[in-house]
């Protein structure tokens, strides 16, 4: 079957790709565009390892078809840091040791960035609910939540 041609924008850069109509956005990112920072965990929308933003909304890229993103704006973990260095959220995850194996980390950082853009001053409870779709089997979440709350405070201009 003929592949579909898709024109989109990834991390602000125009991007074209060819994919099978049944390929997920996750397949396309990892296998065709070599953007392997986005991880595959469950492949069924439960774990959040493949989190990306689609037109500003946080989604699981395993539950989006590549062909659906024609004309869309995609944000992945590769777009979080800048030429100047790591994003505050990435620095705080390192500082608080909020990771062990690291598979959930890209998804958690993309989700934390989406959370803090929507709500710069979340309570711990709000942060925990927002991030409930990002599963971490190593840390027990405590260090992750500390990193998230510290990121929020730093981004608001606190100490």
């Amino acid at each position: 079957m003929a592949k579909s041609h898709v024109t989109t924008s990834i991390n602000g850069v125009p991007q074209e790709f060819l994919c099978e109509p049944g390929d997920t956005l996750l397949d396309v990112l990892r296998n065709d565009l070599n953007l392997t920072g986005t991880k595959e965990g469950c492949g069924s929308g439960d774990c959040g390892a493949c989190s990306v933003t689609l037109n500003g909304r946080l989604v699981c890229s395993c539950l989006v078809l590549g062909v659906e993103v024609e004309g869309a704006e995609i944000g992945t973990i590769e777009g979080v840091s800048s030429a100047d260095g790591l994003h505050v959220i990435q620095e705080k995850f390192l500082e608080h040791a909020a990771l062990q194996c690291g598979i959930c980390t890209p998804g958690l950082i993309v989700s934390t960035k989406a959370l803090l853009e929507e709500n710069p001053n979340p309570t711990e409870e709000e942060a925990r609910y927002y991030l409930a779709g990002n599963l971490c089997r190593c840390t027990g979440y405590d260090k992750i939540i500390r990193a998230v709350m510290d990121s929020a405070e730093t981004l608001r201009g606190g100490v």
């Binding site: 109509p21 049944g22 959040g48 909304r57 699981c60 539950l63 989006v64 078809l65 062909v67 659906e68």
Partner: protein, 289 residues
């Protein structure tokens, strides 16, 4: 592996034509949170996906004095962010907020929840208590079906080949009317309802309930409107006896299964408790509306 044929028509007529003329199994793609997973486990050789999100109005919600005209494919994330809708239908919005994770809410829609027709769908009891109407477009024109008549069984509904859900209309509530939805799950987030209950009540100036609707979910093959439970509330001030009578009626109407989420006996019991609690929340909101 399923071979997918993908089409993204920009009009209702285009979608109907694709669906009606399909010679392979055809599925409507809205948020894809159920469909993509179902396809992964499918043994069909090929399948047509008709993505309806590029059709005008499918992603919009308009609130007016007539009520809410909801594009079926609007994501739950967009829907729950609408403070104007939350003010009028707080129970419907809280039901949408309970579906899956933040990521799933970024794609999942109320129309998808309805058309997937799971007995445990959270938004369906909330749509039932608000008297939602489903506007269905098909090769023969349009027809409108009450939400309580839409589901016909587990994962089944009244839509025929070639038809699609064009709009969900939720009529404007009467004065001093409000709704609530509660579900029970064993964890605090990211789970499927063991039982769910939606309640809408209308109060008069003395606090007496003049109209009510009660719907229960995850305790029968489809979500159910329970008129006996609503009748138990009407004419009362929602005192303990009235709430208990509504709970007993809801439990009696339930015909749940036993599975790993809960036993049938437990579900029957808990659905009554949820009806009581949701009625109290709805009444408190109605008093303040």
């Amino acid at each position: 592996m399923v071979s997918v044929v993908y089409e993204a028509p920009d009009s209702i007529d285009g979608a109907i034509s694709l669906l009606a003329n399909a010679d392979i199994p055809a599925k409507i793609l809205a948020g894809g949170t159920d469909l993509i997973i179902q396809t992964n486990g499918s043994t069909d050789e090929s399948r047509l996906f008709v993505d309806v999100k590029r059709i005008d109005g499918m992603l919009d919600a308009n609130l007016s004095s007539d009520g809410l005209d909801l594009g079926p494919s609007m994501s739950c994330a967009e829907f729950t962010a609408r403070d104007d809708i939350k003010k009028v239908f707080p129970g419907l919005v809280e039901a949408a907020y309970l579906i899956g994770s933040t990521q799933v809410q970024g794609r999942a829609s109320l129309g998808g929840n309805l058309c997937n027709s799971s007995p445990a769908a959270d938004t369906i009891p909330a749509l039932l208590v608000n008297g939602a109407q489903c506007v269905i477009a098909g090769p023969g024109g349009e027809r409108t079906v009450a939400a309580e008549d839409f589901m016909t069984g587990v994962g089944r509904n009244c839509m025929e080949k070639g038809e699609l859900l064009k709009m969900i209309h939720v009529p404007a509530p009467a004065a001093k009317t409000s709704d609530a939805y509660l579900r029970f799950i064993p964890r605090t987030e990211m789970d499927i309802a063991v039982a769910g209950a939606g309640v809408s009540v209308t109060l008069d100036d003395t606090g007496t309930c003049t109209a009510a609707r009660v719907a229960i979910g995850a305790v029968a093959p489809t979500a159910l409107l329970v008129s006996a439970a609503a009748d138990a509330l009407v004419g009362t001030k929602l005192d303990d006896d009235a709430l208990q009578a509504a709970a007993v009626a809801a439990s009696a109407a339930a015909s749940p299964i036993t599975d790993r989420r809960g036993t049938a006996e437990y579900r029957k019991q808990i659905v009554g408790v949820l009806v009581k609690r949701a009625a109290i929340i709805a009444a408190t909101r109605a008093e303040g509306s």
